[in-house]
């Protein structure tokens, strides 16, 4: 109880700094991080659409930013966040619906797959996009 101190030796729930990192934990954290990133990204995609509706000058300005080096890096990170949030979101739906994949081994492997899917998927999309 509050104010009575802790007489027993039972462990506290560990804080983030002293928690041993593992795949499912990283997977959960990055789901939230990518979600936050996509929130910001939606406003940038929105700016693209509004510029398109505004006229050629506004669109040229957005294109100039998008094709600059920081713009290209940001777009690459955005596509990686989309793919990660997509893959891990699908896993959440599978957890909630058919309720499979809770076994620790499977869950860890699945987290690794989601990270790999995001990184490799983004690389494939950007190579295809620059070739065709």
């Amino acid at each position: 109880m509050a104010g009575q101190g802790r007489a027993d030796s039972r462990p506290l729930s560990p804080h983030l700094q002293i928690w041993k990192w593992h795949w499912t934990m990283a997977g959960s954290i990055f789901h939230r991080v990518s979600g936050l990133g996509l929130y910001g990204g939606a406003f940038l995609i929105g700016a693209w659409l509004v510029a398109l509706a505004t006229g050629p000058e506004a669109y040229a300005f957005v294109e100039m930013i998008a094709f600059s080096l920081p713009g290209q890096i940001l777009l690459f990170l955005w596509s990686m966040a989309v793919l990660y949030h997509f893959a891990n979101g699908l896993r959440h739906l599978i957890w909630d619906g058919p309720m499979i994949g809770f076994n620790p081994g499977v869950a860890s492997l699945w987290s690794m797959f989601n990270f790999a899917f995001a990184i490799i998927g983004a690389a494939v999309i950007w190579s295809l996009a620059s070739f065709y």
């Binding site: 936050l36 509004v50 398109l52 509706a53 979101g89």
Partner: protein, 126 residues
């Protein structure tokens, strides 16, 4: 959409029941189909330049799917950020202000983007 438990027990201790959770999942299912289309389309549209992007948005199927993607994604992200704010901001005033700001920002973005799509679509034939 409501759960049968809610109609029996009222809204529960959180005051909101499971409605938030269900809406998050329903928009997620919609995005499962819309996001792959959107990713492919926006790359094709961006590579086509100003005129090409306009022509792409002006096609009715693309305009409709674009509006559906925007609606599902924006509602989904409003729900998601709401939970993040509730998790990390304990101070009541700040929390309420951020929750309202979240709603305003998302609705403003929805209005601006959906109106842009409609403008491009309706002025294309003119």
């Amino acid at each position: 959409m409501t759960t049968s438990a809610k109609s029996v027990r009222g809204l529960g201790s959180a005051g909101a029941g499971t409605q938030h959770h269900i809406r998050q999942r329903v928009t997620a299912v919609a995005l499962l189909f819309l996001v792959p289309w959107f990713l492919y389309s926006i790359i094709v549209a961006c590579k086509a330049g100003y005129e090409g992007a306009l022509t792409w948005v002006a096609q009715p199927v693309n305009a409709i799917l674009l509006i559906l993607t925007l609606s599902a994604a924006l509602y989904h992200m409003r729900l998601g950020i709401q939970v993040v704010i509730e998790d990390y901001i304990a101070k009541s005033g700040t929390r309420q202000a951020l929750l309202i700001l979240n709603t305003f920002a998302v609705i403003a973005l929805a209005a601006a983007t959906i109106l842009s799509v409609l403008k491009i679509w309706f002025t294309a034939g003119a």
